[in-house]
Amino acid sequence: MKYMLMLNTPRDGYARYLSWPKEVLAANIAFMIELSKKLGAAGELVATEGLASPQQAKLVRAGADGKPITDGVFPESKEFLAGYWIVDVDGPERAYEIAAEVSTVPGVGDAPLWIEVREIMRGRQDIK
């Protein structure tokens, strides 16, 4: 079963992250690298990515002529996806365990973080 574990951040989360003290930053980076290694070695990691700052994010939709219309980020957006892990595990309990571990990543502010866990639907190619 595949799950997506999402780490969300408030609008100013990136800017705050950039000014953390160096010991916390170093611990945060080391934790993330170690976690990827561990999940990879366990054969559970499908994908993980960190997303670039929402500073460059755009909302896009097709205009009347079908061409893209872009807009800045919605002013009312309070939270942005900062990064995700896709894991392939035996069941939800293991996904929650991993999410709990992710939530303890060293940082400044409210810890542990809340991690959003969502099951991924099987693709059509998986249906036998």
């Binding site: 990136y14 800017a15 950039l18 000014s19 930053l25 980076i29 080391a30 690298i33 700052s53 500073q55």
Partner: protein, 417 residues
Amino acid sequence: MTPPPPEPRIERLLRELAPQALGALLRRFRDFPACEDAVQEALIAAAAQWPRAGVPDQPRGWLIQVAQRRMTDHLRSEISRRRREAAVAGEAPAAVAPALPAEPSIDPEDTLVLLFMCCHPALSPASAIALTLRAVGGLTTAEIARAFLVPEATMAQRISRAKQSIKKSRVPFRLPDAGERARRLSSVLHVLYLVFNEGYTTTSGPALQRTDLSNEAIRLTRAVHQLLPGDGEVAGLLALMLLTDARRAARTGPGGELIPLDEQDRTLWDARAIAEGVALAGAALRRGSVGEYQLQAAIAAVHDEAPRAEDTDWPQILALYGVLKRLSDNPMVALNHAIAAAMVHGPQAGLDLLAPLDADDRLSGHHRLDAVRAHLLERAGQRAAAITLYRAAAEKTTSLPERDYLTMRAARLSAAD
């Protein structure tokens, strides 16, 4: 089913033979997509059989025979398909081409012709890269997909579309004429440079697979250099790759973090690669030819020849960037020129050279401009301004190792308060 990877000796042999087999087939059959598929199937068959049964006496002949058999099967089924579709009788293509001799004569220029085809300027860089790695490099679609971290089906589509464009463009299987050649060679070198960079710039995660891309780029550039030993830019690119790759082991720390050039442990540098790169770069310059890759290689050589960072011959680097800046309007060259000027004449000289770059659309808002300015401000003792710009650069970069490096740099400076 994917066969297990063959032993390295066989793998090397197969990759070397891949373009030769494809060249032999293309001269006979012309249909690029079908020939390429046939060679790929022959490579997979060899990878499965040779480790068990031993390498045949004439491995190249073996590959060509097997690929040719596949090609013949393909043509037969094409013909019967057309017959079934009630095509006009007599219009069917010749069913079976005459068999090739066991060890057909091989034109060493085949590899070059193939590179010219695969790096055709009509293809997007991503397609050209994928096709080059498969048709010339002999890599499987699965290997290429892994290297670029995309699903295999996506990569298979990219390759198949690239092959179809080549078929449609009706590029003949021969060397372009002299007038066209220089322009096409520069596309080939650009694609090889991109493959190298793709492998070189990743530092964490699946790094091991991706450094294979750097090795592959070096191997292919070496092959081009053997075919065109007198071309200064080919020699320059090969030298640049070797001199850059020589620092690989020193470039990242245990946690995958980036280590800048002046803080690297130079005893980890690969002395053999440096010696080869320096010799290549020197020989090209002595022949009197000048080009962007040669100049970049010369600059890399000056860095690599300094036993300690403080021994770096910055006046020489500044002079080389001065020449490069006249040849190329790449704004990254202007940035590096400013860094060199700062090393020779002090940080203010560098900052002065950066000022006009704010007006360059390609650079304004680019994290590299902020990062370089932050470094120079740090050296000039303007700590607060440096911290602000390091953080601005960190927020803009889309590379995680780079973001970590810039963030830590800002954190270290602000901890020194």
